[in-house]
Amino acid sequence: MTHTLTVLVENTPGVLARVAGLFSRRGFNIDSLAVGRSEDPGVSRMTIVVEGDDQILEQVTKQLHKLVDVIKITDVSRDDFVDRELVMIKVKTETSTRAEIMQLVDIFRARIVDVGPKTLTIEVTGYESKINAFEKSLRPFGIMEMVRTGKVAMLRGFKSTTIDESQKKEDVY
């Protein structure tokens, strides 16, 4: 079973190494990890997709919480959420195949971001099954290179994974 975790971390050097290192040394598997600045410049938001049963997820969460730089963890997959991934695919083209590929781009609502004499570079976003289907349909033409950002996710509606006011203000000691 996969879980999608949103993890808010302090934007400090080494925080990615701390999180990634924790996963490897405790033997947890990461399916994907995406990280970037959040709405608060001092805080980064990570979206981590982990494979594992509830017991593994509980350990992952508890161990992550032990990292001083980790502020908040939300398992968004327990709730209504949307997730997206951005993928860039460089596909080989011949004069004879170009039109067909462009048609596929239309069908999948992808975008062509670069045109070369013998290549097209296509950007597509969406949920996993759409991306997988798009990749499959391009495979016969010859995919030269593919890069995926890893999933990012958000809760639906008014709910969010931001830090509570209490967590922002609280000073200790």
């Binding site: 302090e10 050097p13 190494a17 990292l67 609280e170 000073d171 200790v172």
Partner: protein, 558 residues
Amino acid sequence: MMEVRGVKLSGAEILIKSLEAEDVDIIFGYPGGQVLPIYDALYDADIRHVLCRHEQGAAHAADGYARATGKPGVCLVTSGPGATNLVTGIANAHMDSVPMVAISGQVPQNLLGRDSFQEADITGITLPITKHNYLVKDLSELARVVKEAFYIATTGRPGPVLIDIPKDISVTLEEYEVPGGLHLPGYKPVSEGDPSQVMEAAKAIAGAERPLIYAGGGVVISGAHEELLRLAELLVAPVATTLMGLGGFPGDHPLSLGMLGMHGTKYANFAVCECDLLIAVGARFDDRVTGNVETFAPDARVIHIDIDPAEIGKNVRVDIPIVGDVKKVLKQLIDILQPRLGEAWQEKIQMWKKEYPIDFCDNGTLKPQAVIRDIYQLTGGNARITTEVGQHQMWTAQYYTFTKPRSFISSGGLGTMGYGMPAAIGVQAGCPDDIVFDIAGDGSIQMNIQELCTAVNYELPINVAIMDNGYLGMVRQWQELFYNRRYSQTELFNPDFVKLAEAYGAEGIRITKRSEVVPALELAIRSSKPVMLDFMVEREENVMPMVPPGESLNKMLG
């Protein structure tokens, strides 16, 4: 140092002021290139510095000091090899939850990442073995980082925190400002237990016929020994302690079962197998305690009280978890519990105690168990005992009856040979009026033998009692039992420990007969110098009882 507004101080001076603000009165360390400015600032400070002979010794000394006094231990080393030599000491403190602040110098920031002379990525290296660590990149952060480091090291589940300070930070000048409140949104240790969980636990306890308390190092760390005693007496519940829990419950109390686990007492392990309620208090279900986890406490519901939520359900399924400071949770429990009578269970335990006492075949020869019992009797159980790792450590756990918290100081989780003597130095520095013994093996003692010089240098009258059997005894024991007596690389060629002690300026005594034991110990205790006692013990004595690795606790040998 005077506090004058507007006066600029160097980073090194700010560090020292910050340490003074944390009431640091002793540092164990070793100077070097990148900490020269810090050592220069230390020259004028009111902080005592103990120069160890190896950085690993400094780390273990800081660790021993912390375990004996309850205050954070501080060590200070240079960059590169100085810092990497701390690694075992930091890992050791991390495994046993010891509050420690390790400070390392680092190459100046313009040389960072260039494989400069004596550069090592010590924050990267210590990532998995510290509670938290810092590379200070801006002098304005330094005072706050030091304050945070001490706060993190000493609160919640304690642990080591490392601060890496590039040399340019140490020499830059800035105005010193006392840091204000700490802002650590991701760090919130709990203290009280959830009242509804405490109530659940109380109900389970009231319904139990055969409760057993399994007490770990958390009892000692949180100072919950009095609460534990009250709880045990209230419930008439027997108490088995882990290695780290020794001293957390008086070993001479009728409810004490001594240690459980691989080399635990038979009655403690039988009690685990037959209890219907296991109350784990500040313990973490280590494999040396549980044996085969599938058959561990098979009939029992499990209450687990621990300050670290990640320990709950990590190794063993738990029925009633309570996250909180052990001392506070035990108080909460005691407040709502009714006394109970546990006569049938108590009778059964007393029967086991009578039938399977912890004992050895005393034939009058120089047995290590007898030596340790004599140390106990001569010190009235009032000494601070450190150990190395191996057979002597287990015999100490079995035959020295620990009655007071912080009297047994030993490397539990990591099992670090070479821990005992530097730890004893830290203990003696922190507790100058106490008798300190390092109970050692002839293998372990050679792993940090250089620290004997530190003890002599600083007139710390530690006593080192070597159970000298000319073997790496515990490994030999496993070879005897599981490898068909093929003693591969376990027979030791040793130096003359008496001459070695004398060369360092300590006293050395060799003991070859039982009749010599007590006089030698008396001499050592009276001596104002460090004394190394070389007990030429029975060579092939085994630690018994023993649960073979991975077996159930009731499958004990011996």
